[in-house]
Symmetry: C2
Subunit: 543 residues, 2 copies
Amino acid sequence: MVGVDFGTLSGRAVVVRVSDGAELGSAVHEYTHRVIEQTLPGSDVKLGPDWALQSPQDWIDVLKIAVPAAIAAAGVEPEQVIGIGTDFTACTVLPTTADGTPLCFETPELPHAWPKLWKHHAAQPHADRINELAARRGESWLPRYGGKISSEWEFAKGLQLLEEAPDVYARTERWIEAADWIIWQLTGVESRNICTVGYKGIFQDGAYPSEEFLAELNPGFAGFVGKLATGSVGDRVGDDVNGVTVAPLGGLAGRLTGQAATWTGLPEGIAVAVGNVDAHVTNAAADAVRPGQMVAIMGTSTCHVMPSDQHAEVPGMCGVVRDGIVPGLWGYEAGQSAVGDIFAWFVDNFGHDGHEQLTALAEKQAVGQHGLVALDWFGGNRSVLVDHNLSGVIIGQTLATKPEDVYRALIESTAYGARMIVETFEKSGVPVEEFIVAGGLLKNPFLMQVYADVLRRPLSVIGSDQGPALGSAIHAAVAAGAYPGIEEAAAAMGKRTEAAYVPDEANADAYDRLYAEYRRLHDFFADGQMLHTLRAIRNEAHA
Amino acid sequence: MVGVDFGTLSGRAVVVRVSDGAELGSAVHEYTHRVIEQTLPGSDVKLGPDWALQSPQDWIDVLKIAVPAAIAAAGVEPEQVIGIGTDFTACTVLPTTADGTPLCFETPELPHAWPKLWKHHAAQPHADRINELAARRGESWLPRYGGKISSEWEFAKGLQLLEEAPDVYARTERWIEAADWIIWQLTGVESRNICTVGYKGIFQDGAYPSEEFLAELNPGFAGFVGKLATGSVGDRVGDDVNGVTVAPLGGLAGRLTGQAATWTGLPEGIAVAVGNVDAHVTNAAADAVRPGQMVAIMGTSTCHVMPSDQHAEVPGMCGVVRDGIVPGLWGYEAGQSAVGDIFAWFVDNFGHDGHEQLTALAEKQAVGQHGLVALDWFGGNRSVLVDHNLSGVIIGQTLATKPEDVYRALIESTAYGARMIVETFEKSGVPVEEFIVAGGLLKNPFLMQVYADVLRRPLSVIGSDQGPALGSAIHAAVAAGAYPGIEEAAAAMGKRTEAAYVPDEANADAYDRLYAEYRRLHDFFADGQMLHTLRAIRNEAHA
């Protein structure tokens, strides 16, 4: 089984044994164009601020280079591979023709013809208008996204496309997630996975936003859904929901084409799983697809993904999507805008020492010894305030405060932020039964212990450091029919250590007191009165 | 004329021309024992936390070494010198016998026999008790000190001496400011200057705290005033106030003794001015002894000293003393606990660059461009909150925040703190007519411009970088009869450039908006609810 994880800077292929999930070999291909932020490739066309694009050619190259290399590293014969699954960053979205040709292959000189990477943030004004109108009209889908949709998502980026490049918009026959586009390349068949349809495409209760709503945003936007819905075009994969075809996770998207077999060196005709998102597919890799199993993918930012049998509108969540993680359950997503990014920012700018030395000094301290509390809003606050214009706060410094004190306080602040999210879920009637950590920050055991102490719960940890690719392979195993469903495949192939970190009761008590101060600080600054004013003054000064 | 400034780490002598204040030569002697904080000299007797002592021998060495060296550097004949004046840190206080012999010369193995430097903070519990009792009894002198006396002052340190070393207390015949002790060494006559008597000795409206009050603190403390008052002992210098002899500033303390002439190389019998405090004597050096001329001595901390013809109880001031700066006027003192110390703390711990580079980067910015506001409480808050258990706050950081942003915000925070003090004086009915800067931070023109913009007033600057020593020489000139009073002497010998920095109107407008946020932050954290809690948790964690 092969799983391929398409990340922000590179793609990774992993060869996984179907019986037990053993990772036999892997390979990484760094994208040639990385993230396109300044000028278009091979030209001097400049991009605006907050733009971030990618090249579809880089994705194809992952299939051509990383997949064969992983097979070779695993020492298996390509013929032993019975299926392939993939996951992608999201919302990474591109305009194509009706046959799936990216418009940037036709008009590479036009910025809007290129795929917009998830972290393209230039559609914020468009997102603001969508949110404002949706709130005014009381659109029923808005609470499913914690009250605000993101500028990163399909409709915001689509509206930006329409208004800034109407010609490109007119030529856009399909507006498709890269997660689904790569499946189209592998199978020759267009499909739309339920995960991105729900979390990034505002498809809720069997419907997209209404034509009326879209027309009120901009008359030219009224027919936008026609570029998304697969109900009326080409072959269909998945279930028909009110005329929209939605492909279930773990489903069979199609069979590997001859061309894709040539690219990858894999046998033509093997199973290709429905596309998926890197965060959401990680739950399978951690065998965490049952209700209340919250997986926190902790890296530069943190994404919290949890299936549940309870449905509720949780304030400040990123989204809740029926079947969005695993069929039959509600899938919840929440997030912290910056986590590892905060520690990197501190070390790069304010630390004389690196992460390891600062951690070594910080972990010698007793809880509260530094006298500090910070608000972890250095990259804004996604959950639970949904306000990217908030900023960081540190209180309690004295002339005796050392860098390791601040470093530790920053780590703790992100743990308090995580606790706030967990408590908000539980208060909303969505129990969190288990907290499972995946992602790059796992490598810092001190940080993990802080989270266990602050959360007052045992932490489980994923057993793989290539979780998304493993998760994709698990989905592929289901698509290939090796298991009846994701839950069974995850149980056999996923890896998780329960209670890898257990809270220290005395530390947890001490953190309860500090968390009370964090809450007080949180509530004081939550309305943005001061922090928005400072940001506005800042923006004026820069203008 | 010779002025000698006894500082925390060294003593400086300056030779000054009587006619115009020209500084002809100077010399510095670094104290051999510097600040004694760990163990007593020549022994392994350990000191407690927050202890800080000095050696009287170091002070004598300044007379023996720096004074002759300054004369030599000036290229004048000792016979041309007609007077000497001194200033000292305060409250730096020591126990002596009736003839002025420091007890540490007799029992050098006893910590309490040594002079306690101003920054000896181990008497905080004693200060707390004094404040608590004074508030409960409604002592009339308490509002003269902004509502709280400091642990640095004579009564707090005296009570600590009594309770921790009753034997030494019993042997203490005189409890005397170093400012007055050095005059005793020069003249052979004990005197008590009105400045330290008032600001550090709680002498108000012609009386010390009552025996009844002192007895209630500790029965053994009832007679403490007998160790201070000079009404009944030896020769008297100055005015008799209810049996207490108080020497006026600019007064003649006595004539240089033969022994002191031998030490200094100066002629026996020349005028010796009444002792004074380094901060307060600086007003004369800046020719700022008229009502409303506030001198800010800006260094590691800032001291604000201002004569006024108005009497008011200004919240959070350090003290108001009649004749305490110049005869005939009320003398006000306020302070910021840490200023230059904050910048040094930041550079030492969090800056990859030094002060000059950070300043160069910071001054390129437009006002508010960094998006930050800080509370300058990293060393607590003296004025106007009188709370040393407060701590620093920084808000508004993002992942784009650079060290120069924080550095600039810290500079601005101290300017906001200064504006808060100025506004508090004016709101209390004590006008601030002119803001004059002295001290080490003068060397940073960018910082000065920030203060001018934040305060919305022109800044005057002192024309000497050895202000206290020059001020002492001016006082000596008065004592020697060269001028009829301090005002005339300061006008001739003091140096000040008016409006050296003028506010930029646009910047001042921008700072008004940021200052409004500082005030909001100030008012939110002023009650200490959060910051005291963090400090308490910190102290428990350390315990």
